[in-house]
Amino acid sequence: MPFKRYVEIGRVALVNYGKDYGRLVVIVDVVDQNRALVDAPDVVRGQMNFKRLSLTDIKIDIPRLPKKKTLIAAMEAADVKNKWENSSWGRKLIVQKRRAALNDFDRFKVMLARIKRGGAIQQELAKLKKQNAS
């Protein structure tokens, strides 16, 4: 299978380990085999090992080593935030965060909602079974 996600200037990656876990960063330059210079709108530009990055499908158009303003403008133009939040990967992460932040009352409400949903599914299933039987 050919590769689809490349390490290249402008590739958006997710930090999957360490202090900046969960943050979206842009690869701005490549230091060497194992490290990239990485930048995000609210982070000082720094180097990061590729082992800490998970490449995403999103790529923005920036020149090599852009200024912070250029980077932010390019990210706005490519609408990285919305693309990420609408992608299935991004949505999963949002749901995970939401679930982790539930308090006990919220979990109770979720339980009730699941029971209700299960009941509705069972009703439909019973109807279909009856149709099939007859």
Partner: protein, 194 residues
Amino acid sequence: MGNFRFHQYQVVGRALPTPSDEHPKIYRMKLWATNEVRAKSKFWYFLSKLKKVKKSNGQVLAINEWLSSHLPRFLVALVSLIFERKPTKIKNYGIWLRYQSRTGYHNMYKEYRDTTLNGAVEHMYNEMASRHRVRYHCIQIIKTATIPAKLCKRESTKQFHDSKIKFPLVFKKVRPPTRKLKTTYKASRPNLFM
């Protein structure tokens, strides 16, 4: 950026003034050591090899650390520390060293791509230890310099001199995001494709 084992120090020293020589020449050295005490010791080691002065008849006038983190320009002037000029810019560092192997002394020239000189030197010490089994005390750094891309000699640094660099990450190591979540056994086979 962060904690480096090897700190860069600038040590300034001279021989003690004597009746015959009221103003002895002052010498400055840039060294790498793990701490200040070792830096001063190394300073005398090198200086006594070059000039007729020992620690007992000399004095260290100043020792400043060369830090590689990012500090705003206006603070650098206030504080008497020295900082790396542009720690967010990737540079090609050439390091000339003299090391002692099991059979004798050799000179070497190595190139590293890094954002800071401290990082490159740390890389160098690690690489010398792994490739040549040479430990810290058997390495003397003769010279370090930032090399412009045209003058780099090693293919492994030159291959990154590409403004449109692009390569896939071939093998994704699946790693739990914190060491606390590490387990010996996993329920399902990991997917190694990026």
